[in-house]
């Protein structure tokens, strides 16, 4: 085949399956492409950073640790916010996203982030700002931001892998778990050893809750309907198999389990905590990637 014809065939029928095949559209379970492939990868990162930033802020409230608040606030707004904007096709019009909080989850999220930004800034700059009412308000805002990314996905009824009941609990627990790990590491390197050791009991609780949520998500989605089952099978096979095994099972569950057992009862040190933090960050990125990548639509026609 000469180069010109080869180029023509490649353009009309690219290997990503987006070529001129109008008759094959939605007759098989069809994967969503927009929120993970190509530019969509920004959204995966934006949801992640918003979640861990808010998670860190949330846990820091309980320990009244201002450096944690500052870092959490910055991660949520600077990393999460900027990456969100990178994803948008027309970022200069992004302010319009505040227009429909009554129906759009995205719009609600922008409002919540706006309020979090303002109140969080106020809490950070004021001297004695850890009072119970303010902490409660900020805690609720943090939980809403943690769940915002998955909540936006959860309302999409056409994608069972995202509309699964366990998506929101998984998101909340993972945000708090990683936020807790970030704070424990900050304590390990900046405070007396017993501070980080004292946090270990909560690390055990959050870790097992996180694993339970993953298991329930897989079980629930698999048994929800045929398309949900298809998504779960996709997560364990093909191109996602390696990410599921190494990322989710290895770094998200197995390695943190080993490290948690090593540090069981508060026998902590900064290196083990750092290793577990790195592992759970990679693991949670993998969990999110796999969930976003495996979402498929129910076909419009059946082809048996």
């Amino acid at each position: 085949m000469n180069n010109k014809i080869h180029h023509l065939v490649q353009t009309m029928f690219p290997s990503d399956g987006s070529g001129l095949k109008p008759y094959e559209w939605m007759i098989n379970p069809t994967r969503q492409l927009q929120w993970i492939d190509k530019q969509g990868i920004f959204l995966w990162l934006a949801f992640f950073f918003s979640e861990i930033g808010a998670g860190l802020y949330f846990v820091s409230l309980f320990y009244e640790f201002k450096a944690g608040l500052v870092l959490g606030w910055l991660i949520t707004l600077v990393l999460g916010g900027l990456i969100h904007v990178l994803y948008l096709g027309n970022p200069l019009r992004a302010w319009r996203m505040i227009m429909k909080p009554n129906t759009s989850e995205l719009s609600r999220g922008i409002w919540i982030i706006g309020v979090f930004a303002a109140l969080g800034f106020f809490q950070i700059i004021t001297g004695n700002s850890f009072n119970i009412i303010f902490n409660t308000i900020m805690g609720i805002l943090c939980l809403l931001i943690i769940s915002h990314g998955f909540a936006t996905m959860n309302v999409i009824r056409a994608l069972p892998a995202w509309s699964s009941t366990m998506v929101l609990p998984l998101s909340v627990i993972s945000g708090v778990w990683i936020g807790h790990q970030l704070l424990q590491f900050m304590f390990a390197v900046s405070k007396p050893a017993e501070m980080a050791a004292g946090m270990e009991v909560w690390a055990e609780v959050f870790f097992f809750a996180y694993v339970l949520c993953i298991v329930l998500y897989i079980w629930g989605t698999y048994h929800s309907n045929e398309i949900g089952k298809e998504s779960i099978i996709m997560q364990g096979t093909g191109e996602l198999q390696r990410i599921s095994l190494i990322g989710v099972a290895g770094l998200g569950v197995a390695l943190p389990l080993i490290l948690t057992l090593i540090m069981w009862g508060g026998d902590t040190n900064a290196f083990w905590i750092f290793l577990r933090l790195a592992s759970v960050i990679a693991g949670d990125l993998a969990v999110r990637y796999v969930i976003m990548k495996s979402a498929v639509y129910k076909p419009l026609l059946t082809r048996q």
Partner: protein
């Protein structure tokens, strides 16, 4: 105010893809972008299998998932039931695209805009004219609009959509077997209401509760 809808008789459709091509011509759609598709599926097992031919387009749902998902109000349901996109408001978040259970929306980015029908040979005069006559905004979502410009122009001239070609969507006009009927769903005496009633017209994927304005009869 009418509520525009469509009935597609799948028994009549011969899968000629006339609607697909007429739509691309009408809206000067770039390569790889379709507002109309003809899906080919099958059911059963040999020797008792049957072929399914379903022309698909935006369903212009009255309770549209895309409208709910849109954070800016760029996607909205017009008074005449057509789901439209205001490209001056669209931020390109693609929440509408993700939430559409029928997957009938397309994100129009620079890569799509730059595609040529004859790759490597530059855009044809027709493609260049199309970009002027029917400009899509880069970084926004596009989709079927029931040829609303034809309907509006036709109504101004006193024509009746569904009856007069100049006021009727291009896919309906082109269909050689009259598989498509366009008309007012709110008019109890309209042809499409008669067809829906007599043939027990069905909406596609009714379980999503979006109340599509496109009905199928078989």
């Amino acid at each position: 105010m009418p509520r525009w809808g469509m009935v597609i008789d799948v028994k009549r459709c011969i899968a000629c893809w006339g609607c697909t091509i007429a739509c691309k011509e009408e809206h000067f759609l770039p390569p790889g972008v379709f507002f109309n598709r003809v899906l080919i599926g099958e059911t059963g097992k040999f020797p008792s299998s049957s072929k399914l031919i379903y022309p698909i387009l935006c369903n212009h749902c009255s309770d549209a998932a895309c409208v709910e998902a849109c954070p800016t109000g760029a996607t909205y349901v017009r008074e005449d039931g057509i789901v439209a996109i205001d490209d001056t408001k669209c931020v390109g978040c693609r929440a509408c695209l993700i939430s559409c259970p029928y997957q009938q929306r397309t994100y129009y980015d620079q890569k799509v805009k730059d595609k040529e029908y004859f790759p490597g040979q530059g855009k044809t005069a027709m493609e260049l004219i199309g970009e002027k006559l029917y400009p899509f905004k880069v970084g926004t979502v596009i989709k079927c609009n029931f040829c609303s410009e034809r309907i509006e122009d036709g109504l101004k001239k006193g024509l009746k959509p569904g009856k007069d070609e100049d006021a009727t969507p291009a896919c309906v006009n082109i269909c050689p077997v009259n598989a498509r009927t366009f008309g007012d769903l709110d008019d109890p005496n309209s042809e499409i209401n008669r067809l829906i009633m007599e043939n027990k017209g069905k909406q596609l994927r009714k379980e999503f509760g979006t109340e599509p304005a496109v009905y199928y009869i078989d």
